[in-house]
């Protein structure tokens, strides 16, 4: 039995703007085990990234705020920590990889300096020890000839190699939890395949728990053990990856899976979901997917569906689910 490393309970993160309250994340719960990859999939503005930023307590201020809920990392509720205490967790216990390696690296520092910064800050190492740690982080991400690379600048590297460097920074302090926010979206297909294989290997070696945020079901299928599907600030379905693809229970999940063209068969016509996601400032009453749902019932437009468990590790928020 593996140990739960992160438990999120009824998390609500709102943005308070002049025009009104944006309910970016509105009551989500999930857990992540040690050594597990947990996927969060959804379209833009469904709350994936805000979930990640909430866990790191990095919501943009002023405006962004965790309104309620618990984020328990290895027994500590991160929501209750002071800013100073939280700083000890970031980088050391939890780290993050962002989508675009062009903007997440500093162009005027060498690769070595950028990894060393995190090693000095979080592990308190000095002198030769720092360089050793930097090299071991580069080795972990299988970056060729690390002794040479650490004196290079980001512009001297390709996109795939830069994203490995970002991975090396994130893994340099051997965190317990890694949040990867669309880490391969900016990469080419063959490089993406390399990167994903690399991360599976890193996970095997370090037993790190990964939260993998993406909009791509192909990536989910290859990387994740369990998945949560988000829509308009809520998790509509959570299941093991196998279950989710084999027997999706929420109409949004099955619509999403069916609207992606497949390479292994010729589709006559793609299934398409009409309309667009609702504004997070002006949510419909009842189920948030009801206005676009092909199998909507009267109750869906009036009451929010509760989350119901339907078998091992599979839960769904839909009035139709049994």
């Amino acid at each position: 039995m593996s140990k739960v490393i992160l438990q999120v309970e009824d998390l609500r993160s709102y943005f308070f703007t002049r025009k009104g309250v944006v309910k970016a994340v509105d009551g989500i719960s999930f857990y992540v085990d040690e050594g597990e990859t947990f996927g969060i999939v959804g379209e833009s503005a469904c709350g994936k990234t805000v979930t990640a930023l909430s866990i790191l307590r990095l919501l943009p201020e002023p405006g962004g705020k965790i309104v309620s809920g618990k984020i328990i990392l290895d027994g500590t509720n991160l929501v209750e920590l002071s800013k100073k205490e939280m700083r000890k967790y970031r980088g050391k216990m939890i780290s993050m990889i962002l989508q675009d390696p062009m903007t997440s690296l500093n162009p005027v520092y060498t690769i070595g300096d950028q990894i060393a910064e995190s090693v000095r800050l979080h592990q308190g190492l000095r002198g030769e020890m720092v360089e050793q740690e930097v090299i071991s982080a580069l080795r972990l991400l299988k970056i060729p000839s690390p002794e040479v690379i650490l004196r290079q600048y980001p512009f001297q590297m390709s996109g795939g190699m830069r994203q490995r460097v970002v991975g090396a920074i994130a893994m340099s302090c051997r965190p317990r939890l890694l949040i990867a926010d669309e880490p391969t979206t900016a990469l080419d297909a063959t490089i993406q395949a390399q990167y994903m294989a690399l991360f599976k290997d890193v996970q095997k070696k370090t037993n790190v728990a990964i939260i993998y945020i993406t909009h791509d079901f192909g990536v989910i299928a290859q990387m994740c053990h369990r998945v949560a599907v988000m829509y308009a600030g809520k998790i509509v379905e959570t299941a093991t990856t196998r279950e989710l693809f084999k027997a999706p229970k929420h109409p949004y999940t099955s619509a999403l899976i069916n609207s992606v063209p497949r390479l292994d068969r010729k589709d006559a016509r793609l299934y398409s979901i009409e309309g667009q996601p609702p504004s997070l400032m002006d949510l419909p009453p009842g189920c948030r997917f009801a206005p676009r749902c092909p199998v909507v019932k009267p109750v869906c437009r009036e009451q929010e569906p509760p989350e119901v468990g339907i078998g091992y590790g599979h839960s769904v928020s839909c009035w139709r689910a049994k």
């Binding site: 379209e43 833009s44 390709s158 795939g160 190699m161 080419d188 297909a189 063959t190 490089i191 993406q192 395949a193 390399q194 294989a197 909009h215 791509d216 079901f217 192909g218 299928a221 290859q222 093991t240 990856t241 196998r242 693809f245 084999k246 619509a255 999403l256 609207s259 992606v260 063209p261 497949r262 390479l263 292994d264 010729k266 589709d267 016509r269 793609l270 299934y271 398409s272 979901i273 009409e274 667009q276």
Partner: protein
């Protein structure tokens, strides 16, 4: 009998690399290096490849946004470079339109939708304002928008709706060919299907030809009749989409397919093993000798680094450039 609308013959585009005070040319970036293809009337040709493969340069050459280093483009059998400027303006440009990848940067934010869609009509026809406006409303309806949208500005629309506006603008002059450069990659998953279905419906309705550029194989398979797989400025495999995806022959095509196949967890172990290429695409400034793919190929033989593989027909119009096939 195939009815060819546009044909590219041995297209080459080299960009000079200059150095020093006198801007001496010290090398060439071979962005497109000997590419030939045909776009049939009413059908779609898909160009697939990773960044730097030369897809967009090929599209730019067709749209006459780049002058080729060598090669010919034939439109309905006539060589474009023999056209005079005025002929191009009346006989070619209005009939070849494009839709760009990013609907946030392809429209002037200060223009209303009705003016954006009417722009090609204003430039290319002598119709009255009234005629233009009724045509705009007709176009908006065709792409699934309504007359109320005509008075709005681009920022008032979502990405999918903006891409619909871009499609309406491209159709304004009743073109024969529309170049679609990554038409859905900037959109959300649930919106992509809407736009792809719309494009297919319009194609059927108006017998349009499309040149679709995409890096996503599944998108291309869904959209295209013919497919060309590009690597480092060259076509490595070409054929009808059905045939090519059922029987991929080039190792690069197979690796690409393996990388983008939706492998379900239950296929573990029994499905085809994933091919993971090592290394990255070499620089087009100094492409490898012989087969350009041999540095990353899982099946490379010694001869691959010496001999340049020609694009050979292996039956049924399926062409492949590999010495080992």
């Amino acid at each position: 009998m195939e009815d060819v609308l546009l044909e590219g013959r041995d297209l080459k585009k080299y960009y000079p690399v200059t150095k020093g005070l006198l801007q001496r040319t010290v090398g060439w970036v071979r962005a497109v290096d000997g590419v030939s293809f045909k776009v049939e009337r009413g059908k779609t040709l898909g160009l697939v490849g990773e960044s730097g493969a030369g897809k967009t340069t090929t599209a730019k050459a067709i749209l006459l946004l780049e002058r080729l280093t060598s090669g010919n483009i034939l439109f309905e059998g006539k060589d474009l470079y023999q056209f005079s400027q005025s002929q191009l303006k009346t006989e070619y440009r209005p009939r070849v339109q494009s839709v760009q990848q990013n609907p946030w940067s392809s429209m002037n934010p200060r223009m209303r939708v009705r003016d954006i869609v009417a722009e090609p009509l204003v430039v290319n026809t002598k119709q009255s304002k009234k005629q233009n406006q009724s045509r705009v409303l007709e176009l908006l309806e065709q792409v699934g928008l309504n007359s109320g949208h005509a008075e709005l500005y681009p920022h008032e629309f979502s990405g999918g709706q903006r891409q619909r506006i871009a499609v309406a603008r491209a159709l304004a002059l009743n073109p024969s060919l529309v170049v679609l450069d990554e038409p859905v990659s900037a959109l959300d998953v649930s919106i992509r299907a809407q736009i792809m279905n719309l494009l297919k419906d319009l194609q059927e309705q108006y017998n349009l030809s499309y040149l679709v550029i995409a890096h996503n194989l599944a998108t291309v398979r869904y959209m295209s009749y013919n497919v060309a797989i590009m690597y480092l400025g060259q076509i490595v495999e070409y054929g009808e989409a059905e045939e090519l995806f059922k029987r991929p022959l080039h190792p690069y095509t197979r690796a690409l397919m393996s990388a983008s196949l939706l492998t379900l967890p239950e296929d573990d172990g029994q499905g085809t093993e994933q091919i993971i290429l090592s290394g990255e695409m070499p620089s087009p400034l100094n492409p490898p000798s012989g087969c350009r793919f041999h540095t990353r190929c899982t099946e490379a033989a010694p001869k691959c680094s010496q001999e340049v593989p020609p694009l050979r027909n292996v039956g049924g119009g399926h062409e492949v450039a590999c010495l080992r096939v």
